[in-house]
């Protein structure tokens, strides 16, 4: 920029390298303060001009690809949506997403997340192949029942916020359970029974104690806590009503 602002802001960034091992450390960087900048801009500034070894993921910088989730002052955030002005003049601490193994610096290993996502059969299942001559009908009302749960960008902030996932191994977790509900509610899907084995299992909805932080941190207002509690109500009703439970989609 032509006129560098005189103000700066300090970032304390988590560093760890598998080839060096040992304990993680924090490295301090002084970054120019622009009121339009987000934490990601600050990280890019560091990488471009100060320390090219700082390692992190990013791409779209508009909150839709889900790459840049990190802990900012202990809160899971998309760094492309965390504005410096909301923290300045306090120091900003940036760490990798909690509850995931760390590959290096701010990069986490998300294989477990993908495994959990895949475990809920996240695709439309149809008994027969449908003709490609026309679309399956779905009214705006039917779309509205599941639309919110289809908005997940797989950023994993909810997993970083969930204490149960943090302490458990097989916990399926908020995003996967929301996605399962998305498909269960979709009028076109015919695999609800199969998903129930996974969703209604011990490590599915029943591990959840409704802390609710997943929904608080979700940048897309998917409301995974809502999805899980609604699934609990449904599971209970089904169990209680037994053969009288109305099956089939609304």
């Amino acid at each position: 920029m032509a006129n560098e602002p005189k103000e700066t802001v300090k970032l304390e960034v988590f560093r760890w390298h598998p080839e060096k091992g040992g304990e993680p450390s924090f490295q301090s960087y002084e970054v120019p303060f622009h009121k339009d900048w987000v934490v990601l801009d600050a990280l890019n500034h560091i990488k471009d001009t100060i320390d090219g070894s700082l390692t992190y993921r990013w791409s779209c910088r508009m909150g839709v690809c889900g790459s840049c989730g990190m802990m900012v002052n202990g809160v899971p955030k998309l760094t492309c949506a965390a504005f410096l002005r909301d923290y300045h003049p306090e120091t900003i601490r940036v760490e990798p997403l909690a509850n995931f193994p760390v590959e290096r610096d701010l990069v986490i290993n998300l294989e477990d997340f993908l495994k959990k996502l895949s475990s809920v059969y996240p695709w439309i299942h149809r008994e027969k192949t449908d003709s490609l001559a026309q679309e399956l009908r779905q009214t705006p009302k039917q779309l509205a029942t599941f639309k919110q749960f289809s908005m997940c960008i797989n950023c994993m902030l909810c997993y970083a916020a969930c204490p149960i996932y943090g302490h458990g191994e097989d916990v399926i977790g908020p995003a996967a359970l929301s996605l399962a509900r998305r498909y269960n509610l979709d009028s076109r899907d015919q695999a609800t029974e199969k998903r129930k084995d996974v969703v209604y299992s011990e490590h599915g909805i029943w591990d959840c104690t409704f802390v609710g932080e997943c929904s608080t941190v979700c940048p897309k207002h998917v409301d995974p806590a809502g999805a899980i509690q609604q699934s609990k109500v449904e599971a209970t009703n089904e169990f209680m009503l037994g053969p009288f439970y109305p099956r089939g989609k609304r």
Binding site: P18, E103, A144, G166, A225, G226
Partner: protein, 128 residues
């Protein structure tokens, strides 16, 4: 790879983030609710017994420790009720066309029922 780092339970309690602290308190409140249930069961039991037992129970209620104990139990009961009512909306989805009745809106009938029940209890105790 560094193994996954999760916050410890004590960190959740003392963390500046009010949400985790409220959650822990909410969970703990059930303990107090359970204890008070035991208390009520004992009272009912003593009510069925000879008057002496009931008088002993009343005397216990007047002891100095009871006031703070009841105050704490009441505070937790309030916390439990309010957090529960506010959270109810998440689990219940009612739609009008494509729009969803707001989550907060779900708490209104619950609070209303609570007020009505309280008024009934007050009336009952007054006329009992």
């Amino acid at each position: 790879m560094l193994p996954k780092r999760a916050m410890s339970w004590s960190e959740y309690m003392t963390l500046k983030r009010g949400a985790y602290r409220v959650f822990m308190l909410r969970e703990v409140s059930s303990l107090f609710n359970a204890l008070y249930m035991v208390f009520l069961i004992v009272m009912l039991h003593d009510l069925r017994g000879p008057k002496a037992d009931y008088d002993a129970f009343l005397a216990l209620l007047w002891s100095p420790a009871m006031i703070p104990l009841h105050a704490v139990a009441f505070a937790f009961a309030l916390l439990h009720t309010i957090t529960f009512f506010n959270a109810m909306g998440k689990a219940i989805v009612i739609r009008s066309g494509e729009e969803r009745i707001s989550e907060g809106g779900m708490a209104v009938p619950a609070y209303a029922a609570w007020v009505v029940a309280t008024l009934f209890v007050v009336w009952f105790l007054g006329h009992g």
